[in-house]
Symmetry: D2
């Protein structure tokens, strides 16, 4: 149950499940609330680019989803109009964790950012990419 316009964890888990791509990719919503959201994905060999690292499209999908879900905790349903990312290091790991944060939630626009961490076999996290999304609230809650 939610009292405001923002989505809670339960609603974001449902939103995540309603997206066919997210189910196909095995995205999990690990945490969400107060302008933050965390997405997790397990490594898959069929998600790699030519050099064997995670494909840029999957890096983008994780960062964009973390931004969108972080924004949704404050603004409800949103849609992305601009997305950018920096690929800092080769994206290789057993798991990937994308942490999104709302920078500013306005009435007409929401700015969010995210960091993507690769988790090694030993459980160490390293920052492999950063991203940003500019979103538009679409009015649903």
């Amino acid at each position: 149950m939610t009292t405001g316009v923002g989505f809670d964890l339960e609603q974001l888990v449902a939103t995540n499940s309603s997206a066919a791509f997210n189910r196909m990719a095995g995205f999990e919503v690990v945490a969400a609330g107060d302008g933050h959201a965390e997405i997790r994905m397990t490594w898959r060999d069929d998600f790699t680019q030519y050099a064997g690292h995670l494909h840029a499209g999957m890096i983008a999908a994780l960062l964009d989803t973390a931004c969108g879900f972080a924004a949704a905790t404050e603004s409800g349903a949103v849609t992305a109009s601009h997305f950018s990312m920096n690929c800092l290091r080769p994206a290789i790991g057993r798991h990937f964790i994308a942490k999104g944060t709302t920078v500013r939630a306005g009435r007409r626009q929401v700015f969010a950012k995210a960091e993507l961490f690769a988790e090694s076999e030993q459980g160490d996290l390293s920052l492999v990419a950063t991203g940003e999304t500019l979103l538009i609230p679409t009015g649903g809650a």
Copy 2:
């Protein structure tokens, strides 16, 4: 056979086939040469976001691949460090065509841009997204 550092269509078809994600997603290299490259993908229901449009991660994958392959026609092997995209309209269609163009191929950096078109059942093309990539030549040819 190639005479310079740039990749020709045959080499890019091979590069595309060597990437597990590209095979999984069914990317085809339709054309490549002289700073340009064109990628094609057929609609798949399991690539959608919650509203039933093509997922942002797939839009990014198509734009980024078209940029990278356009850059490779001039600079050979490259790796992306920055990517951005604008989502102009809902990405819905029978097919998607991403057209990449090299803006400037320097020795240390390559700037490329791309447009993503959705093809309707009737064969009409509409521009649904634009993207940009900044790439680093990695020396292989």
Copy 3:
């Protein structure tokens, strides 16, 4: 006189004159209409960075203004929320010409792009930077 929401050349010349920075920098609106706008500036020695090229802030100002004025020809008063640019070559020249184009003018968001050309003593133009702006219509006309 304007019949729609968009600004014509006369209105953009007035907008340009109403901005103190644009007057200080000597921006001129050379052309505007139908989703396009062209801004011109003469070289000034006090606008350079440490290496003697045009400062990134001035490159951004020219690109952003060209984007904003191009958007205003279709959408009237707008305000920028996101801006990005690629610096392709050292920005040196007798004059600078920024050409803006609207990519998509929606009700809630306008996407515009621009190219910045440096004009040599001989009158040759070279592309030194490209930029993009995401704008919000602010309702005035």
Copy 4:
């Protein structure tokens, strides 16, 4: 005196003074070291856009300079190839403070980000814009 490739505060103050634009705009290097840099500027009425807020070009100049100086503390002389910014709130204040941070300093590329704060008459700081720069080390120290 510096022992490595990175610039110290004294060198960045000198770099700042060597840039005509920075002198014209009254940029001051307040702090620099260990991947961070802070730039300060006092409000000027001739730096405003049509609505009386700080012009986007000046916002870009402050963010880009803070990014570049933060990068220089680790990598020495650098030049920006890509810059982006988000304009979160109207930029109005008695002073502006831009705080830059290096995200990753590689051999061939440096990623840096910055935040721009407006300082009110009462001394309160509010975040008005964020930015990112991708830089190339140019070899000088």
